[in-house]
Every structure is written in C-alpha cells, then in structure tokens.
Symmetry: D2
Subunit: 311 residues, 4 copies
C-alpha cells in the first residue's frame, strides 16, 4: 500500500446522511446544500457512506455517485472520509479504489457483518484490505449493528499495521474507550473518534480526537462549540451545551421506534430546514403526521437554547 | 407479479455450500460433484445462496455464476430455490430476475439486515418485492443473523399476498413453530420448512413441510430417511436416526468456534469426501491440523452408525 | 445422604401457584381447593415453591407453611416435590430439612442466582447440597430467571452423584433437550421433565418423563390427556390437544406484559373458577378491568374446545 | 416514615466486602481491620451488604451481625449505608429495621430480582418500602444482576417521594447518567453515586456526588485522591490516576472469569495485605496457585505507580 497522503484529523466529523430522491437516486442538489450547511457550521471533516449514510441500503451506483459528488463539492476544504463497509471484501476494495480515484482522504471500515467472525479473522481481514488499498484506513467499531466488538487488543495490533491510522468507536462504551486510550498510550498519533454525540465531550476530555456525530448534520455549530469547549476544558460552556445534547437525545431522537429511525429524524429535520428531502432508502415508511408534529415541537424547544449566539 | 409456475415442495432441501476456488471464483467442477452427491442421496430440492452458501460474502459475479450453473446442472430434476437476501432491495430484485431468467423455481428472502426494521416495514418490504418479481417467494426467518424475528402475525399477513408461498424458519424456536402452524391452520398450502437439522424430525411430526438442513450437503441420505420416518411416524427409525443427528451436532459441529464455522466444517468434510475444495469466501482462516484431525475422527465415529444400509 | 425413599415419577406434575391472603399469609383453604382440583384432574405429582409458586417473594414463614400444609393435605396420594432454590445455600438446606421432616418426596433446586457461577462451581454446589440433605434432588434449569444454563455435561456429571435423580428443564430449548437425552442414554432412570407446556408433548414423544406445566393448575385434565396421548403416540389426540395448548399460550397467556404475569393470569383464572384468591406476593399490581375481561373472554373461547369430554 | 436524620453524602463510599471465616460466619476481627484500612485511606462512607458484600449469599444471622458490628466499629466517624435488597419485600423491611436500630445512616435497595417487574411495579415497590421504613433510602440500579434497569423517569418519580434521597447507579451506562442528571436538574439535592470505578472521575466531572467503588476496599487513597482531583478539575492528577484505575481494571480484575470473581480478587488482595481472609460465601472455589501468582504480580506492578505519595 502506498498511502497517498498523511491525514491529521481532529474535531467534529459529520457522518453525512445521504439525500435521496423519491426514486432512490442521489439528490445532488440536496447533497450540495447539506455539505454547505455543515461546512458553514464549522465541521472539520465529512464522512460519507457511514451508518448514518444508509450505506448498506444504497445500490452500487448511488454509492459511486455520492463519493464522486461529495469530493467534487467539498473540493479539499475539509477531509472526506468514505465508508467502505460491506459483507463482501471484494466490494469494500472496489469502493476504496473509487474513493482513491476521487481523491478522498481516508476510508472507514466496519467488520464484515451477517456472519460472525473472531478476532483473529478480523485482524487478518483488516490486514489484507489495508495492504490492498491506497488510502489511510480507520477501523469502525459498531457492535450494535455488526454483532461483533473489535477487541482492544485487536485495535492495538491493527494500529501497528501501516495504513491503519485510527478507529471510529460507536460502541458507546466508556470502559472500552478508556481501555483503548490506555492501551494506545505509546502511539498518540493513532486517532480515536467517538460516535455517539452524547459522549463526545466526556471522551474529548480524556483524549479522544473528536466526534463523528450524526447530530452535526442538523446542528453543526453545537457540536463544534462543544468540542472546542471540551478541548479547552471550559466547563461552563461544556455544561451548558452538554445539556442541549442530552435534551436532543432525550426528546427529538425518541420520536418513532427503530434504529434507522435516528436517520429518519435527521432527514425529517433537514427537510424542515429546507436542506434536503426526507426520503430514505427502502424499506421506508414515512413518519405519521403526529410524529412529524412532535419533531417540530421538540425542534422549537431546542432552538430556544440558541447555542449559535450565546456561547 | 406473474408466478411462472406453481411450486409444491416437501421433504429435504439441501442448502448448498458454495464450492470456491482459492481465487474466490466459483468451483464449477466441485459444484457439479456436490449437486450429483446430494441428488444421489435423494434430496427433494436445492437451495443456493442461502446462509450455508455464504451468500453475503460472495461478489456479484459469483452469485450470478452459481445461479446459472446450478440451474443448468440440475436441469429441473428437483426444484431450485435461490436466495436473494441483501441489504439493498435493488440487489435482491436483480437476483430474482436472474433466477427467473435461469428458470429457477422460487426465491428465498430474509429481512434486510444491518439496520433494524419493524414488522410493518418488514411486511411492506415483502409486499413490494413480491409484487415486483416473477417467482414464488419464501420468507426466510433467521433472527440470529438478521437480528429480527419475523413475527407470526407478519408471516400470516404475508401468506395472504399472492406470490408468497412459504417460510423457511431457521430460528430453532419450537414455540414459534407451533404458533406459526396454528396461525396458518386455515392455509395448509403455505409451506413451513425448518432450518436446524436437529429439529427437523420433531417438526415434521407436527406438520412441517420438510427441512432445509445443512447436514444434507454431506449426509443427504440420513436426512431423507429421517424425513421419511417422521412423515410415516416410524418411531423406531426416528429414534435411531435422530440419535445420529444429535451426535453429529454435538461432535462434528463443535470443532472450532464461530458460526460460519458450521459451513467451514461442511466444506472440510466435503473436501475429505473429495467432492469440493474447503476454501471459503474471505475472511477465511483454515482449520488447524489439530482441528482437521478432530473432524476426521468424529466423521469416522459417525460413519460407524452406517445409516445408509441399516435403516 | 440417606435417600429416604426411591422416587419414580412420570407424567404431569403441577407446579402449584401459592394461594395467598391479602395480608400475604398462606391461604390454606385456597390451597386445599387447588390441590383437590388438580388431583381430580389426574395429575401425577405436585411441585410447590417453584417459579410458578412465587418462591423467592415469599417470607420464610409462608414457605414453611406451604410445605407442611401441602404434605398434610396430599397425604401421599401423589409425590410432593419441594423447591428449595435460594441465593443462600444455608437457606436451601434448611428448606430441604423441613421438606424431609414433612415427608415430602423430593426437592428441586435451581442454580443460586444474582451472582454468576461457572459450571465447576455449579457442579460443586449440587454436590455439596446433595451430600447434606436427605431427599432425592432434581436439578432445575431455568436460565431465563437464573441467567445461567446448566450445561449438558454438568447434568451428566451430576447424574452420577447419589441422590440426584433427575432434572426439570425450563429452558424451552429443544436442542438442549435432545442433547441431554442423548448424553444420558446409558442412564435411563435419570428423569428429564420439561417445563414449558407448549413443548411437553413434543418432548414426551422423544423420551421426556413428563411435564411440569403451569397450565396444569387451571386445566389439569388437558395436560394429563395430552401426556397420555403423547405416551401412546395417539397423534389424532395429540394434534387436537396441542392446538388447545397453543391457543392458550397465544391468547390467555398474552394478557399483560411481564413474566410473573403468567402466574398472575393463572391466579386470576383460579379466582374466576372460585378456587383461590388472585392475590400475589409483593410487588403486585392487580390486572385492570380491561385485562380481566380479556382473560374471561379467552377463557370462554378455550372452554369451547371442551377437552374434558371429547377426547 | 420519619427520616431519623438528614444525610449529606459525597465522595468515595467503600462497598465493603464481607470478611468471612471458613465456617461462613462473620470474621469480626477482619471486618475491624478492613474498616480501619478504608477509614485511614480517607473514604467518606461505608456501604455494607451491597453486591460487593455478597449480600444474597449470606445467611440472615451473618447479615444481622455485619450491620451491628460495622455500626459499632465505625462509631459515626463516617456514614454507614446498609444494603437491604432481597427477593422478598418482607426481608428488606426487616433489614431496614435492624439498620435503623443500629443507627445506620441510610439503606440501599435494588429492584427485587428473579422475577421480572415493570416500571410501575417498581415505583410502587419503592413507594411502599420507603413509607414503611425509618431511614433515608437510595435506589440501587444494577441491571446486570437484577435484569431490570430503573428507568430515568422512574428515578425522577421516586426522587419526589419523601425518604428517597439518591441513587447508586452501577449500570456503567454514561448515556443513562447524563439523562439522569439532566432529568434531575431541578433537584440538585438528590444524590447520584456511580458504581464502576472506571467511570467515577468522568462522572464526577459532570456532577456525580461520588463513587461507590469496590477498589476502595484495597486502594482507598487512590479513589479518594482521584475523586478530589475530579472535583477540583485538576486534570494532570486525573490523567495520572485514571491510568492506574484503567490498569487495575485491565490486569488485576481480569484474573479468573466470573462476575463474583471481582469480589474474590478483592478478598485475595486483602488477604495478601493481611487484612482479612479470602474466604467467600458458598458456592466458592478458591483461586488456583497460578491465578494467585498472577494477582500478586499485577499487584506489584500497580504498586509501582505509588499513588499514595506522588500525587
């Protein structure tokens, strides 16, 4: 592998939702507006084809389109990370090639799902892929979806491989985070990003490189400001903004009931913000009117905090 | 949808392993030998691209190859069922089209995995797909892999849709099976096949249409004879053969430790039988020599039962 | 240990609910009526202080009362089994002594819960207790409540200890049952009773000694007849009665939502049958009127099957 | 209820292990030495009969002994909290009465386990008990052992009841902690203590009242110093000591394999420190020599950090 460029990331990376037209094709115009929205909000990077991006439900063509269009629109203003997770190793490598050709900055890869794997197979898998592809690679730990946790010792072994530069941990497990940071204490360049926005600040205080937070699709400034406050240990601001994050999590994100629901809520809010359509990849059942009103109401409550100006 | 042919299935369907060359391409010669082996063993149908077939790890091209080659080799001697499960609805429909063009007899579809879905979304999903494709469709319940159980009520609703003709239940949950059979009591044509070979006979005694049993890759006669015994309530034979099945499950299938391990064991045995190579789709770590010897020894013990002649 | 008597059990054992007065004392009159009800129904044994008997919620005094009163009322007409499960080994042994003094026939012991134990500790535990007490002992496997499964190999080891005569398996896992029966094939005297009534007949067909079925509190004849049918492989009757059992499980037992709910439903039905009060040990919230009406309606539907006369 | 005294707790509370003689009676001498050890270490309170205290495995008499002996030895130097968790409400109330009579300062109560309960039953349960007893009550959330999580909304409702003064949360779930603190923002007097020592500092930074940390049996100063550092946001010290905590958790606590193992390790270390015997309540299998050596080695490594002097 020839890593085509060093990558030094930190701060808030938005795991972009994938704006879709009702015919399930990429909504390029919506994508442009969304990228503009998060860049204006100050985020430090963009992650496409992650879980929030509905990657597994998109057809090949849409995956290619989103890589190309995003890289073209972002124009190197911030790093672009591309999710290449797939059940087939062949497809992951194919996506990494496209990402490389479009000059994306890194790829992000969760364990192959559906079948279970053990840690030895997993390490071998990461080794094989990192040796084949041309971009820096982030491990992606998301056991709730893949049914496997990447053990701390597997991350440590992988961190010694050339081309593997960091991990995105969406486990939400603070014990895991602290064990990981301790085990990686002699390798401070290896990046640890945390997924769930509710624990971004608590982990940045203990050395996380930043957050890959879905909420940064709709409220990018909130997360950027909270990250900066955590970075500088400004606890007055941390307390104020963490409360907003907790409130969003406990109200807005509770509408409806399933896990991709979270993505549906983000898209519903973005649609209310007139940024992109709320359409999801199939299978998709839209929110009821009652649910939509709830979302609107919670949104209004959250806006009262007005984190844009006051902090 | 125009169902291109009625399908009346019963008995033992072999969920075929996918013979692979070491370059991950389809091993056509091995596939031919395997199909011959199971047809000589008397099985009533063949199911390709199921969980045992490593479907999710295969690249598109291999999936197409196995559909075409299998249909060509089987030449309508028994029905061919094609797994079309995928995380992307688009890909599932594409596979169904190929299956239709190759004159397969039915398709088998598990819930879309990775993201969670609720029962309403699931029913909607099956409805949309069954309306789009041209072959009879079997629901495929395998919660250990997809993280969702297809509720009895969802199966009942789906059973009323034209084109949905049965369910393959790999939950291993006997409570579910009895509830399902009771709920479907007014629709005796709707087929219920059970996945785990350990409970094939117990469910056939209570009205299951048959078994889709991985062990029928290596010991097709065993399962055919056990099915026939259960069908005719010949308990002397049932007891004798069920003991063999239990022994296989408790010895041979315990070598190694992961779930696709089961497939690895089947392929290892087939390789010892000189039917096809043991190569698996990536990520794949071969058995250690110690594990291979264990498999060999267990295999020898099982052969002593000699279910081929004695029953 | 001196086992005070051989015990040869088979058939339907009712895991008795514990009739309680509203002050949480034992309802002796209700207990008498309940025992009479199940004995008239033909059951082959009575099991007190099991999970259905709310054992862990009862105070010491009530536990002693129910042992004494039951043994006195039953007067050796059928064997009485006494649950001695407790988190404290000391208390289990104390209960076994009382059972022995009251001339009960056997004791039943689940793993100590709250803290986890491993299989070696578990085997040691059963060994220590069986060596200390004077009555034959049944293992009691109920992983949903104790969070530990008694491994097949642990049961086999325990079956070799003097004084351990059988196992009550409430796992509902048919794979486990078949593995257990196979592993115990050289020890046919070791009894295997199955807890969940939905799989009593399917397991008796494969050699279970009988069922310890909660539904035999309210419909003792149903289970006795189904057991006899399974024993004699009278499939016409099996199919008819298994459908009733499935219907009860899918309707009556679905009212409300928690697991001791099942006990609450049994007590509610017994109260409607004027056998004993519906009062439960604390914490207890009675059914709403709506729920009670549902129970009544389901009960009426079930009675239409009239399994008492027709079979 | 008449709360006999206000209680204002904060800082490190040691959940005391229960020193036992080999005949399972209380080791009073060991208890005295252990209390002295943790008080010299500077802890702010003592919690007896918690999970770390093996409460559920102790016989009644030992429970009474430990309440009496602890209160007598501590002599009001720090508050004494008494665990009254039991499957029987009657027993919980009895223990609360003893605690009150011995002038303990508060009681701590987890949900009744074995049977599942819903949140309404749980709230009702806490209400009934708090109305009956005479001491301030802490809720005790430990879902890994009780199989039920006390919902944030249930804690909020309970916090409005007189006599319920705080919660000990051993879930280890940081999302839960932040939701809880946010939901209780108008009731700052309601105390939130966190169980797992690995997340004591991270939660104290966000407003936790302190930690109830098992490790404070063996290294009381470590936790007292870390608490003080977190309280004063002295991050240099936090980072240094959090690393020690992470190291203890990742080495010492990994010896052996079960959950009460953690307690076994604490007792083994205390035995090496010549404070009390390593004997556990039954079922108990001692560490192998190999495991004991591992513990010794890990202990030596940890001592090199020498957190007593350097911070």
């Amino acid at each position: 592998m020839t890593v085509n460029s060093k990558i030094d990331l930190h701060g808030i990376i938005t795991p972009l939702v994938t704006p879709l037209l009702s015919n399930n094709e990429l909504d390029e115009r919506g994508l442009g507006k969304l990228i503009n929205h998060v860049l204006v909000g100050g985020v430090n990077g963009i992650f496409i084809l992650g879980t929030t991006g509905e990657f597994s439900r998109l057809k090949s063509k849409v995956k290619e389109d989103i890589i190309k269009t995003t890289c073209r629109i972002v124009k190197k203003r911030v790093p672009v990370l591309v999710g290449i997770t797939d059940t087939s190793m062949h497809e992951s490598i194919r996506l990494a090639e496209i990402a490389y050709n479009e000059s994306a900055n890194a790829v992000v890869l969760a364990p192959p799902y559906y079948y279970s794997v053990d840690q030895a197979e997993l390490l071998n898998y990461y080794k094989q892929i990192s040796e084949t592809i041309e971009l820096p690679l982030f491990l992606y730990n998301i056991p709730a979806r893949t049914n496997i946790n990447i053990d701390v010792s597997t991350v440590v072994e992988a961190s010694k491989l050339p081309g593997i530069v960091g991990v995105k941990d969406s486990s939400g497990d603070l014990f895991y985070f602290h064990k990981l940071k301790y085990a990686l204490r002699d390798n401070p360049d290896f990046m640890v990003f945390v997924g769930p926005e509710e624990i971004m600040a608590p982990t940045v205080l203990f050395g996380a490189s930043g957050g890959v937070n879905g909420g940064a699709n709709i409220f990018p400034e909130l997360f950027v400001k909270l990250y900066n406050a955590a970075k500088s240990k400004d606890f007055e601001t941390i307390y104020k903004l963490q409360d907003v994050v907790t409130r969003i999590s406990g109200s807005l994100y509770q509408v409806g009931k399933n896990s991709p629901n979270y993505i549906k809520i983000l898209k519903s809010v973005l649609s209310q913000m007139d940024i992109c359509d709320e359409h999801m990849a199939e299978p998709f059942i839209p929110f009821t009117q009652e649910e939509q009103i709830k979302i609107e109401n919670y949104l209004n409550e959250i806006k009262h905090f007005d984190f844009r100006q006051n902090v």
